[in-house]
């Protein structure tokens, strides 16, 4: 087990190294940078700034300087905010985490309940409605779902604010502030939950259907246990176990920010930060964020594999 983890970690480092080359290469390929894109600067000032930011050096040299700093946890300064990239990400990440964790919680709750019910009544009307509903949820383009919901709930009905985290100019504190944030959170969380619940419901439904056909369930029924006990105690537990692996994969979704949803709802999270940095070509921030996503993905893969071993002792990690 120890050897396995060490090998996986080494492999992770190699993959991340490859990813860093790719990320840096792509950004280096992009013509035009933060300095070039600013029409207010004179040519002399531009040259000066480029020297200051090290943009005049050859690509390979710039890469190794960047990598050397990145390994030490320093992703450089955001050109647009004049703040270290890591501290910027640190500021915005919790806003992303707030809506992501709320929607993950709802997604799992709804998916488990609906998945179990529709599996126990396979081919019933409820099951068909759930199946089609799950496919519908998977087929909405995220941005269009967001736009429709804003149009309907915020513009037409006026029930919820159309975007942002607090009302502009508001300086509420304490309980009123919390209430205000929840009011603003509602719609983005609704969209994220809607987008995620489809595939997870299908997952639980299939899992339950598989488990419910197994011999130990028949044994439980033969013992004369109540159907409720059979479904919720014997079957659901076993259906939940492999889902633990999925929790590992949730990591990037929890901290990586929902780029599209945050942009549509103007939610001040890392996804929104990324889109802003994108239009301004703020490379240190973009590279830092993309690298951060890569690290999250690799870490979540490892976590999922380890959790899989925990959930199912028959799986031997070698």
């Amino acid at each position: 087990m120890k050897a396995y983890i060490i090998r996986r970690l080494l492999y992770m480092i190699l993959t991340l190294f490859g990813a860093s080359v790719l990320i840096f290469g792509l950004y280096a390929l992009t013509p035009g940078d933060f300095v070039d894109n600013n029409p207010k600067l004179t040519d002399e000032r531009k040259a000066e700034l480029k020297q200051l930011y090290g943009l005049d050096k050859p690509v390979v040299e710039r890469y190794f300087v960047w990598l050397g700093n990145a390994v030490r946890g320093d992703f450089g300064y955001s050109l647009q905010y004049q703040q270290p990239v890591t501290s910027l990400l640190g500021q915005y990440i919790w806003n992303s985490f707030l809506i992501a964790s709320a929607s993950t919680l709802f997604t799992w709750l709804i998916a488990i309940v609906i998945g179990v019910i529709s599996a126990t009544r396979q081919y019933s009307l409820f099951d068909s409605v759930v199946t089609i509903g799950a496919f519908a949820a998977m087929s909405f383009p995220s941005f269009f779902a967001g736009l429709l919901i804003i149009k309907f709930f915020a513009v037409d009905l006026g029930w919820f604010p159309p975007g942002g985290m607090i009302t502009t100019g508001s300086n509420t504190t304490g309980l009123a502030h919390i209430w205000e944030v929840i009011d603003h959170m509602f719609l983005p969380v609704l969209v994220l939950t809607m987008l995620g619940v489809g595939s997870l419901t299908r997952y639980f439904r299939t899992n339950m259907l598989e488990i419910i056909r197994q011999d130990f369930i028949r044994t439980a029924r033969a013992k004369g246990l109540k159907e409720k006990t059979v479904v919720y105690k014997h079957a659901l537990r076993n259906a939940l176990l492999p889902a633990i692996t999925l929790l590992g994969f949730e990591l990037p979704a929890l901290f990586g920010g929902a780029i599209i949803t945050e942009k549509i709802f103007n939610w001040p999270g890392v996804g929104q930060l990324y889109m802003q940095a994108f239009s301004l070509r703020d490379y240190p921030l973009l590279m830092g964020f993309t690298m951060f996503l890569a690290i999250l993905t690799v870490a979540s893969n490892l976590l999922a594999d380890l959790l899989y071993g925990v959930a199912d002792p028959r799986v031997r990690l070698k």
């Binding site: 993959t15 991340l16 992009t30 383009p141 995220s142 736009l147 599209i260 973009l286």
Partner: protein
Amino acid sequence: MSSIVTETAGLAGARAGARRSSLWRDTFAKLKKNKVAMCGLVFLVMMFLFCFIGPFFSPYASGKVNTVMINKPPSLVHWLGTDNLGRDILTRLMQAGRISLTVGLAAMVLSVFIGSVLGVVAGYYRGVVDQIVMRFADILMTIPGLPLLFIIGAILSEWKVPTDYRIYIVMLMLSLIGWPELARLVRSQILSLREREFMQATESLGLRDHRKLFFHLLPNTVPILIVVATLRVGGAILSESILSYLGLGVVPPTPTWGNMIDAANTLIDFQKRPWLWIPPGFAIFATVISINLLGDGLRDALDPKMKR
């Protein structure tokens, strides 16, 4: 005992004789019983007809600017209203659908092609080739698809690629993102298929490698590939719409469903003129859900391990 042997041999012979057609016939017979999947298929065919043949019946197909009829709500003359240049939305929806569907299909074909070729090669030869291909796939898969697409989209915007070529480049971008998963899938299939008896037969027959790979190994992965490829078209249409909506994919004047929704970025159009951006959104939704339902039906029909 011997009767069983001859029987199975006869069965295998019969199967070999009509194998290609029988796989399709079986699949279609099973698919026909699945009402939901058939709905998806029928709707998809209708969508294709609507987009590819529809414009021939429209009096507004030329897309001429009509200054008198700007931003008109839906009426009997213009069923879905007109846009800011006085063009008929319904006609534009069909024309945009042509592009969106073509991009989705082409991106799927390309990524299936790249993914299956690399997957077969990696799985069959293993060793160094496998390492190189799969490690590269791993690296591409570490970076989430959307940011990666954004970066490539931005590079293209900066390079001032002519708008006519953008749709081809969007196809390439989407297949670049899509192939690693397919390569992984095909490779894992090949790893077990290459140990089977029929491969020993190809060995003793002295077949060349390319025959083994593309005539004996790859056809065995076709059932799974069909399912994944079908679902891929939906995914590609969704990705294209996001990119085009953000102005990083196919850009006007070429219409796609995604860049038609771009109208929602203007506050007044978003709030007061929903006919500009709601129809293309539902067109995407309807197309993708039909593809997903069909793909799910195909999975049930083609994957014997999936018992319903």
